[in-house]
Symmetry: C2
Subunit: 492 residues, 2 copies
């Protein structure tokens, strides 16, 4: 196993027995969702994070398919001790429908013709993509995600999730995305589609049985896309006006500059791993994406309930920071809890895959900023300070707990009693609780972050903290067990 990595993983397939009705009105009579998971789902299934991929991504977000393989597309932030800490979270990533990496898409067999769908695949939307993910989560028994996250088209999916299923997640991370596609984004997508459609080998989408695939068109589409994923600055830093394999310009039409050679390589490599029809359908889904209602993004996001982290990239001109700011403003207008951060980077749109330091920091901090209120046991058992040791001991045993907050007559916390206290009392022949209970009680408040609370427990060697409100009343108990359950056994 490679250090710091989730290690070797495999893509699973979920074959859904029922049809999926699409937003366009058509029906996918059979549905397969390809997915990968990393980490372990906890007992109450509350630590799941759904990660959504971008245009050319797939279910393989982290780890390795084989020892020699390249890691998954977001391996930089998924794995032990990374933002999506697989020691604590259960991370799920599935291939979008319409894609070409295992989920039902244009390459799949159309049950009614027993041939690949090709261009007859129904047009899909980001909503349809999310519905298929929801079906997968139901299959996995997950009704509420801890978080949903994604960059670019993945961010659109995450945002769509928060609108369609407001109760299905606690947190959402939206990176380098938008609340709707702009004409410039549509324009670049349309150029890519036209490149594919005008490649004679595209053959109206029926090329799977042919030797000749529409590689020229797909490569061209990818070249256009790739320019938009990089910033002018990063291209300048990486390539400048360097020539490719020669000392002086050759006055010919070969790829003379390094940037040309790089783009050709990106385009040509892409055709080996991606399907032209999928490119058509997925870009179309991006074009359709529009969460505004009556022209207002605030109205469109009014039903959301999640806590949000919105991240933009300073040099991203395809999904510029202004679009992330627009999402943030729309959420804030609805009173949503929302943090906005701009990653300073010269890498352009692709920075969400590349700036692993900043991404890990921002996302990791956001994911772990759980407060005590979120995980405390509200059904807390207490005991009166005038109780005998014998009664207290019996209460500990019958309640199956090791901590009993001790209350005064007016219901204020005056101490805590544990089995260890009982043992001390027995040793010293005490009869009354108030003779032996710990009076120097360390407490927490409902709004304290679990990191701080956990730090207190560690510092004082405690296994539980009473949670007191602003009036000093005990409203819950934070136990090591509840923390562990939250984060799948994390040692804070």
């Amino acid at each position: 196993m490679i250090k710091g990595s989730i290690g070797i993983v495999t893509t699973e397939l979920y074959h859904h027995p029922d049809p999926l009705i699409l937003e366009g009105g058509e029906v996918l009579s059979s549905l397969t969702v390809a997915y990968e998971t990393y980490g372990r789902l906890n007992r109450d299934k509350s630590n799941a994070i759904l990660v959504c991929h971008a245009l050319s991504g797939d279910a393989h977000a982290a780890g390795y398919h084989s020892r020699d393989d390249k890691p998954g597309w977001w391996d930089s932030v998924i794995g032990p001790k990374k933002a999506f800490d697989t020691d604590h979270y259960f991370v799920i990533c599935s291939n979008v429908i319409g894609g070409c990496k295992g989920s039902t898409g244009p390459m799949s067999i159309n049950p009614s013709t027993r041939k690949p769908y090709g261009a007859d695949f129904p047009v899909i939307t980001i909503g349809d993509v999310v519905h298929a993910q929801k079906i997968l989560l139901e299959h996995l028994g997950i009704t509420r995600l801890y978080a949903v996250a994604g960059g670019s088209m993945g961010g659109m999916q995450a945002l769509q999730w928060t609108v369609e299923y407001p109760d299905a997640m606690k947190k959402a991370i939206i990176i380098a995305a938008a609340g709707y596609s702009t004409p410039q984004q549509i324009a670049f997508n349309e150029v890519g589609r036209r490149a594919i459609l005008s490649d004679p080998n595209w053959n109206k989408g029926n090329y799977y049985a042919s030797e000749e695939k529409p590689v020229q068109g797909l490569a061209l589409a990818r070249m256009v896309g790739h320019i938009t994923y990089l910033s002018n600055e990063s291209m300048h830093e990486k390539f400048g006006r360097a020539l490719q394999g020669k000392d002086r310009v050759g006055f010919d039409f070969s790829a003379e500059f390094a940037i040309e050679s790089y783009l050709h390589h990106q385009g040509d490599t892409f055709t080996k791993r991606f399907d032209a029809n999928s490119y058509l359908f997925i870009t179309k889904a991006i074009d359709y994406f529009d969460l505004t209602r009556d022209g207002s993004l605030a109205k469109g996001l009014a039903g959301t309930k999640a806590s949000f982290l919105v991240i933009s990239i300073s040099s991203d001109w395809l999904y510029p920071p202004s679009q992330s700011e627009e999402i943030t403003a729309a959420l804030a207008a609805n009173g949503r809890e929302v943090q906005f951060n701009e990653v300073k980077s010269n890498f352009g749109h692709d920075a969400f895959l590349l700036e692993s330091g900043q991404m890990n920091h921002l996302m990791g901090r956001f994911l772990t900023s759980t407060v005590v209120r979120d995980v405390m046991d509200r059904n807390v058992q207490t005991i009166d300070e005038g109780t005998t040791i014998a009664v207290a001991a019996r209460r500990l045993v019958t309640e199956g707990t090791n901590h009993l907050p001790v209350l005064s007559h007016d219901n204020h916390l005056t101490g805590i009693v544990t089995s260890w206290d009982i043992a001390k009392a027995v040793a010293s022949n005490c009869l009354w609780l108030d003779e032996i209970m710990s009076r120097d009680v360390v407490t927490t408040t409902p709004d304290e972050t679990i990191e701080k609370a956990a730090h207190k427990m560690e510092k004082h060697s405690l296994s539980a903290l009473p949670v007191v409100d602003s009036e000093g009343k005990v409203i819950g108990l934070l136990t090591a067990e509840s923390l562990s359950s939250l984060i799948g056994g994390r040692q804070l």
Copy 2:
């Protein structure tokens, strides 16, 4: 004639008898340059302005080819009372070599094969384009331009002019251009080229005799280009997410959004007026453009002598303001006279063609901001104040002048004598100059603008002004003749 317009114009052809040696080493054995001119060349051929066109432009910069035609591409700033005021300047625009609008290019007949050059046309550079323009100007008898101007690739040509022929112009206007092409610019060009090269109808450049032209590839190239010429903001204002000819999305691959339909129209229209091979050769010339020397633009521009106006456009992301600022800084580092202005516009790169108000204002002001020093007669004849009327009259006649500044013994200006003064002296029987000369002399300074000086001349009904330096010494004479010659008869 249409009001405010130069009216009906025609494109001329100049067939150059000698070969043109290209920077790549190849030779164009025969050269034709298509050009248009507007306005009248003055006697001393000092009022000529060369206007250079962008990638898809041509020699038809202003006026109309017929009553029903659209005007030339820069008609908004060329014509009577516009920045390039054809009442005063002689404006020349020629089609670039490698183009397809009359100048020698890939569509031209290759003398050695008697067939069109096609892809066998030699690769050209912005330097070659400028050399062909220089040949045209020599043919027109113009050795020194009043100004050279251009936007985008036209700005590159103008800048190249100032480097190659530093003495051949007084002023240069560089708009939305760059001192060298960046990798992002090269990348977009390469995508366009690849679209053409991978169109089967391109047929290695031999399609002129065929019914099937590489229109798909060329349209695609133009679509990519067009996106880069607009800003995201202007697209948003113009199209938003409006649908094309329908009320709701159709879930199909037609041009659903207005922006898609617009781009298709732009691409398809372009194929009717432009040649795919020309697109290849001209974009290649742009890629090669690099005026840096040893990696320094300041070094590359060290030899220039012109006075510069550099204009950028706030929303231009293809040739961003930073590149105009770089040119400005490089010129300033060499002590060149340079003004920098950023046009505030949402139109993106294309704003240099669209923002006629700002463009007329900035360029008009720059072109007319000539100072007295630029046009004064330095070989000024003076006369001593102790001279007789008879001697003064002889001096006027022998020098062929109508104004003789009169100097004191210590060489300071004390008055001026004209033939009118002589007439007055004769009428009143005076003998000595100091009895009749005008002592209330209106003067100008070398740094006064010609507009101000001309205003003085008009106000005092004078036909000449002595030019005095800061110490009161006469260093020249500004005459109405010199002003008229400068601006081709302009009434200031």
